[in-house]
């Protein structure tokens, strides 16, 4: 073990003085790690060069409040973008925004409002989500149905590689095919390939108005049938969501936004499918309480969903039959929220998920062809590992080669890509 590693904190202080604003990160199970917060390209380069030379493994993080523990367990140091927050360039005439990775999505959304723009994703906690963290986690907003996933918003980025060099991919332009889209590789890479230090996003017009439509529905089947009818309308909803409620019923929510006249027209179409409904809305305001409620959909009961199911739209009902069937047999009532248009479902099991039920769900859902992601402590032992991509072995090998190509010395933690048992 290198000397720096034995007393990393002192070594960092000796090398960087106060420049890294060292703190201590404390995680579950009494785990604690030093957390450094470099600002600017040069500081990132130097920190990574130090880490490489001293064989210290680093996880780049945003605010680092909710990290995948499988990654944290592999490292000795967290390097946070929390203080590297500047807006580099907002070009209203071109509809693009460039900012440092630590900028919070909430502040960026405020910043571009003056120029009449909105950004996506609209995440549950925009003030506590960094641009880099959202990109590296491939985080969605509730507005994905209309605007697409975060990786499609990314025009380009600058990244700090494991050897400390700073490189760029893509640019700030809305159209550009010069060179490889290495930035696409970084989106969703969970901090395992490089540090995103700066990124450029495409922007959208700030809508004049918005409206949230809410209606009740009976069974799971009714809710999904109604959602399909809504999705078949000639409208461009921001979200169509179905979630089960405390009793036996479901709630359907539709969010519309855009020009006043268009929203009015679309609302009339929605009412044809949902004759009994309530509406709230008005001027587009990201702070509006009901929009907050929509974006907090993913944090029902105050926690992230332990299970995310991704499938084809036509197969969502099959997946929910499996979930509800297995839970019923175990006398458990799961909370479920779905984006039927995206074929995405989140499931919460309450305080306890019996391991055998978790395993049964894992087995049956995968056998029926649905993709799963477990997160947090409720993942059943032996269930789908969030760090091990559920893709054919040749694809995992290509991923392994890419990890090795960008980070040959393993300065960053890795996904689990080898095929050894």
């Amino acid at each position: 073990m290198s000397t720096a590693k034995a007393d990393l904190r002192s070594a960092l202080e000796a090398r960087f003085g106060d420049a890294l604003a060292l703190e201590t990160w404390s995680g579950p199970g009494g785990r604690s790690l030093p957390l450094a917060a470099p600002i600017g390209d040069e500081a990132w380069s130097e920190l990574l060069r130090f880490a490489r030379a001293e064989r210290v493994r680093v996880l780049p993080v945003g605010l680092g409040s909710k990290l995948e523990l499988g990654l944290v367990d592999q490292v000795e140091l967290l390097a946070s973008t929390r203080s590297d927050t500047d807006v580099i360039d907002y070009e209203p005439g071109d509809g693009t925004l460039t900012a440092r990775a630590g900028a919070r999505l909430g502040r960026l959304a405020q910043h571009i409002r003056v120029g009449g723009h909105r950004l996506t994703p609209t995440v549950p906690e925009p003030e506590r989500t960094t641009l880099g963290g959202a990109l590296a986690a491939g985080q969605d907003g509730f507005d994905r149905l209309r605007y697409g996933p975060i990786r499609h918003q990314l025009l380009g980025l600058r990244m700090a590689l494991a050897d400390g060099t700073i490189v760029k991919s893509g640019g700030k332009l809305v159209k550009n095919v010069t060179g490889y889209d290495v930035h696409r590789l970084l989106a969703g890479s969970l901090g395992t390939l490089a540090v995103i230090v700066e990124a450029s996003l495409r922007l959208y017009p700030l809508p004049e108005t918005h409206v949230l439509v809410r209606a009740s529905s009976g069974s799971t089947n009714d809710a999904l049938t109604t959602s399909r009818a809504l999705l078949a309308l000639p409208i461009r909803p921001v979200a169509v969501v179905a979630r089960n409620t405390g009793g036996s019923g479901w709630t359907i929510e539709v969010v519309l936004e855009g020009r006043d006249d268009v929203v009015t027209w679309e609302l009339a179409r929605v009412r044809e499918v949902l004759p009994v409904c309530t509406t709230e809305g008005g001027r587009h305001d990201l702070g509006a309480p009901h929009l907050r409620a929509m974006s907090a959909l993913e944090r029902r009961s105050g926690s992230w969903p332990p299970l995310t199911i991704r499938t084809r739209p036509s197969r969502l009902a099959d997946a929910l039959v499996i979930v509800e069937g297995a839970c019923l047999a175990a006398s458990l009532r799961p909370e479920i929220a779905t984006h039927p248009g995206l074929a995405l479902a989140w499931v919460w099991f309450g305080d306890e998920l019996p391991a055998e039920l978790g395993l049964r769900l894992d087995r049956e859902l995968r056998a029926d062809g649905h993709a799963l992601r477990w997160r947090g402590p409720q993942r059943p032992p032996g269930g789908q590992d969030p760090l091990r991509p559920d893709v054919p072995a040749p694809a995992r090998r290509t991923m392994f080669n890419l990890e090795r190509a960008l980070d040959p010395d393993g300065v960053f933690p890795g996904l689990r890509l080898d095929d050894a048992p």
Binding site: G93, T165, N176, T178, A187, S189
Partner: protein, 479 residues
């Protein structure tokens, strides 16, 4: 080429799947960048993914390079053969494997022609949005490899936003089946990375594409201007006002003349200096509202006349000139050099002017027809490839245009790719470190660099990383 290898390949693809007769190799000598031509020793035309995989295994054993080829309409020399390498054409891989209306996707073999897929979707009220002007010929595999654009990509985004899955055969003949259309990639986004890799990562054999519902109402506006600047400024203003038409295309005077003299004649007025084609789509209210606001901008910028069409036949007629523009220009010069660069949309007018000056200084005829809404310029320079001096001036003008665009915050290519054409200019935009990182990514896919060698990345940038004086690094970290 080794006769044993040729025999083994013939056994895989059959007599119709292999061309080695020199007279039949001629059409494969170049792509749309006709000034670069190399006669390949062998062309393979496999039918299935399994055949592609078997061929690639054999070629790996013999260390032979492979240039994938769709329809050869690329304009950057991406499909130009390499000496001693084989061309692997997808021309016999034209099956549509699945159109899933309920889940809005289609799965096709890579050789399916863009327009055939679009036509098939139309019957279901759906559309495959990317529509390169070459869509009558170009293949979905070529579109994937180049991340191609088209007029409607202004609203819908380029090819990459429409690709849900791929089957890729790797350098050594392994099959990566990533064809299932999932909401998000699991692990790294291999599909997203592959799109735009110009045949250097592998051969795409099947493509899963996203389909979008066809818009209920579509209006095309054709605005006629006495001044190219005013057309450019109208586009910048439309973007600035955050209006969202689905397409914004400009044609200049020389293009208009060429179109009107051709079978693509669309009734564009010959006295115009520029026409701006705008398409707005959506529901009736939306189209009415946006079209009205755009009209106000066009009038304020001095449009001489604004024609509109909602009826499908009329719309098609207004579009015919744009879609046929490249074909029509065949009449005004033996050869056409189609440059491709992107600029910030706030700087359209300045950069279009600059391209005109650059060509005028070099005594070259220039026709501009471009995806103005995306800031994607296509200065088309007329020339005769038999005149070496003219060829030299054309290349110099192309370089000067790219320099000007990069200086203005633009990029080297908006849709045609780097290919062979823009290798030298990559260093205008990227540092040696940027390029070295890209080389490493490339080598993760193709360690021997046998796939489309010498394209997309300047060779010396890749060679340098092999010999780079990196400090000795540990091979693994002790944890």
């Amino acid at each position: 080429m080794d006769t044993k290898l040729v025999a083994a390949l013939r056994a895989v693809v059959g007599e119709r799947g292999l061309i080695d007769d020199p007279t039949r190799l001629l059409p494969y000598e170049s792509d749309g960048l006709a000034m670069l031509a190399v006669r390949p020793p062998l062309v393979l035309l496999p039918r299935t993914t399994a055949e592609v995989a078997r061929c690639m295994q054999l070629l790996a054993e013999y260390g032979v390079s492979i240039v994938a080829r769709g329809a050869g309409t690329g304009l950057a020399g991406g499909a130009t053969p390499v000496a001693d390498g084989v061309v692997l054409s997808t021309a016999r891989m034209r099956d549509v494997l699945e159109v899933n209306v309920e889940d809005r996707f289609a799965r096709v073999q890579a050789g399916v022609v863009n327009v055939d897929l679009s036509g098939l979707c139309q019957a279901h009220g759906l559309a495959y949005a990317p529509d390169p002007s070459s869509q009558m010929a170009c293949t979905i595999g070529g579109n994937v490899a180049n991340n191609s654009g088209g007029p409607h990509c202004f609203k819908y985004g380029a090819t990459t936003r429409h690709i849900l899955g791929l089957v890729i055969v790797t350098h050594d003949g392994e099959i990566l089946d990533l064809s299932e259309p999932v909401v998000d990639p699991d692990g790294y986004d291999l599909v997203g990375l592959f799109v735009g890799s110009e045949g250097t990562f592998g051969v795409a054999t099947e493509v899963t594409v996203r389909l979008v519902p066809a818009a209920p109402v579509v209006e095309v506006q054709l605005a006629i201007f006495a001044d190219l600047d005013a057309a450019c400024d109208s586009v910048s203003e439309i973007i600035k006002q955050r209006l969202e038409p689905s397409a914004l295309e400009i044609l200049d005077k020389l293009t208009i003349e060429a179109v009107e003299d051709s079978v693509f004649a669309a009734g564009y007025p010959r006295e115009a200096e520029a026409v701006l084609l705008i398409e707005v789509e959506g529901v009736e209210t939306e189209v009415n509202g946006i079209a009205r606001e755009i009209r106000t901008i066009l009038e304020a910028r001095g449009a001489l006349e604004i024609r509109t069409a909602r009826d499908a036949t009329q719309r098609k007629k207004l579009w015919a000139g744009r879609k046929g523009a490249f074909g029509a220009m065949g009449r005004i010069a033996p050869d056409l050099y189609v440059a491709d660069a992107v600029v910030p949309r706030t700087k359209l007018r300045d950069l279009v002017r600059r391209t005109i000056e650059i060509c005028r200084e070099r005594d070259l005829r220039l026709a501009n027809v471009f995806h103005a809404g995306d800031g994607n310029l296509h200065p088309n320079i007329c020339y005769d490839r038999r005149d070496p001096d003219e060829v030299r001036r054309v290349l110099a003008a192309g370089h000067a245009i790219l320099e000007a665009c990069v200086e203005a915050g633009g990029a080297l290519t908006g849709e045609h790719g780097v290919g062979l054409e823009k290798l030298a200019e990559m260093e205008l935009l990227f540092t040696a470190d940027d390029l070295a990182a890209m080389c490493r990514v490339r080598e993760a896919w193709d360690p021997e660099r046998r796939l489309n060698p010498g394209k997309l990345l300047p060779m010396h940038a890749c060679l340098e990383i092999r010999t780079a004086a990196l400090p000795p690094a540990p091979t693994s970290l002790d944890t």
